[in-house]
């Protein structure tokens, strides 16, 4: 998942193509984690916002 995705003696010589971490497998895992973060952030945000509304209603 991590590390240099090419087995050519640890050099950039001759490297062509995807060079990112996870290029030889695992990139999709990062994508899934990022999606989960976004969804969880929305859930937490919604709960927090509702909490603020309830607190405000209780005061009014």
């Amino acid at each position: 998942m991590f590390g240099f995705p090419y087995d050519n003696g640890g050099t950039w010589d001759g490297v062509d193509g995807a060079v990112f971490m996870g290029a030889n497998g695992g990139a999709g895992t990062f994508t899934v984690i990022a999606i989960i973060i976004c969804v969880v952030a929305l859930v937490i945000g919604q709960l927090a916002e509702n909490g603020k509304y309830k607190k405000h209603s209780a005061r009014v």
Partner: protein, 461 residues
């Protein structure tokens, strides 16, 4: 037949000449465009600092920021450029293995006098030195602006300008020579990789600011006798948030200028490369900058819900991924930046509890997150060749840690030392009475809001 071949050869030669000229013009234009883009960073810092100041100090904060730009640029011309090219192998001024460094090399291209002056002024046979120097000069000015926000509302103007010159002309330049140059000893020996300057610009400037803050002390009223702190909110949060957005726009130019254009005699090859000579595409920047901005904002939103920290989170997101923008997978850049957004505010609170009054959170956003970004790359990017060529050192956590410690030391030592001298000379802190009255009314011959902040006039019918 021979005539036709000769004519064809001449046409090919002409085409090659035109192609080469086009490439040269493209390279020149590439860096030229980064300069105004990076000036947007300064527009952002100007708005950000003035908004984060109380109304009584709004203009004096602006004056300080403007002067930092004005003095750092010539300082970088006078000696900063020489340091970058002269000292990658250390203070000995020895030449590096790539033949692009050392005192002798720097003497030949980077002084504004003698024979090297040919490279430091308009020259029709040199279309790169000016724009390349210009981009670096804007990096230098950015370091001063980073420090500028932390020290608002109580620092003397000239004392601050001297600090800006030391930071922009020397401190960050030394860090860049060591860790952002193909001949840099940190790159060659430790595999330090900091593509977008998270450590050598952001962290160096932030730890320089921390050194200054230790000597400068907090603003009057910031801390109570029992050590608890008070909030001293700026007078214009929308202005501050807009300034932060401008900084983020400008950073596209900053990061673009970290790319070396291909196809020229001074290039690493025929295509884009990092300053280390390793391959990169502008597509990598588009993917990873955007995703890291998003991750930083979301992380800060979850923790704070505060637009100031959300926009700071955007900046922190970019900084956290900056070291490896050339290597990250976009979703991984998002995750790293999300982490930066989450830890941002708690780290700033810890600093405040230590009695440091960093008015805009610069030490945290640029320093803590810059180091976080360098170390994250050391973890997830371990094994990548840090530079071009066989036998290049690879990225590692230890290497990134060594680089981070060196950058922290450069910033902290030079910032603390120079501000200590200024304090002893009585050039660091404004008098107490002036601070209480407000610096605008003491020394700025203009008013920020001569009519106050009024309700707008009625609309026309």
């Amino acid at each position: 037949m021979e005539e036709q071949i000769a004519e064809l050869a001449a046409q090919v030669a002409a085409l090659e000449g035109r192609g080469a000229l086009t490439n040269t013009m493209f390279a020149e234009m590439f860096y030229y465009i980064t300069i105004p883009l990076m000036i947007i960073i300064h527009a952002g810092f100007l708005a950000y600092e003035m908004g984060a100041s109380r109304a009584k100090n709004a203009l004096s904060s602006g004056v300080k920021n403007i002067l930092a730009f004005a003095f750092v640029i010539p300082a970088f011309y006078f000696f900063g450029w020489w340091i970058y090219w002269g000292l990658p192998q250390g203070f000995s001024g020895a030449a590096g293995p790539n033949g692009l460094s050392g005192a002798e090399f720097a003497n030949s291209i980077a002084w504004g006098w003698g024979e090297s002056a040919a490279f430091m002024g308009p020259n029709l046979s040199d279309q790169i030195s000016g724009v390349f120097w210009g981009a670096f000069a804007l990096f230098a000015a950015t370091t001063a602006s980073i420090m500028s926000g932390a020290v608002i509302e109580r620092i003397q103007t000239v004392g601050f300008v001297i600090l800006a010159i030391i930071l922009g002309g020397f401190s960050w330049t030394l860090a860049a020579a060591w860790g952002w140059h193909a001949d840099g000893w940190l790159v060659l020996n430790w595999g330090v990789h900091d593509f977008g300057a998270a450590g050598l610009v952001h962290a160096v400037a932030a730890f320089f600011a921390l050194g200054v803050l230790i000597n400068l002390g907090p603003r009057i009223g910031k801390f109570n006798a029992d050590g608890s702190s008070n909030d001293l909110p700026g007078h214009n949060m929308p202005f501050t948030a807009t300034g932060l957005m401008l900084i983020i726009v400008g950073f596209w130019g900053f990061l673009m200028a970290c790319v070396v254009v291909g196809g020229e005699a001074w290039s690493w090859g025929g295509n884009y490369a990092t300053i280390y000579g390793t391959p990169i595409t502008l597509g990598a920047l588009a993917f990873n900058i955007l995703m890291s901005i998003a991750g930083g904002i979301i992380g800060a939103w979850i923790y704070t819900k505060d637009p100031f920290w959300m926009m700071s989170g955007a900046l922190a997101g970019i900084i956290s991924a900056a070291s490896g923008l050339d290597l990250y997978f976009p979703a991984l850049a998002f995750i790293v930046a999300f982490g930066a957004g989450i830890i941002l505010k708690p780290c700033a609170s810890i600093l405040e509890r230590m009695g440091i009054d960093d008015a805009v959170g610069a030490v945290t956003v640029h320093g803590t997150i810059g180091i976080y970004g360098m170390l994250m790359l050391g973890i997830v990017g371990a094994g990548y060749p840090a530079a071009l060529g066989e036998g290049a050192a690879t990225i590692s956590l230890i290497g990134q840690l060594v680089g981070a410690v060196v950058f922290i030391a450069i910033g902290l030592i030079t910032g603390y030392g120079s501000s200590l001298i200024l304090r002893m000379l009585g050039m660091l802190r404004v008098p107490e009475a002036a601070e209480i009255a407000g610096l605008d009314t003491v020394k700025v011959p203009a008013q920020a809001y001569p009519e106050g902040i009024l309700a707008s006039a009625p609309a026309a019918e």
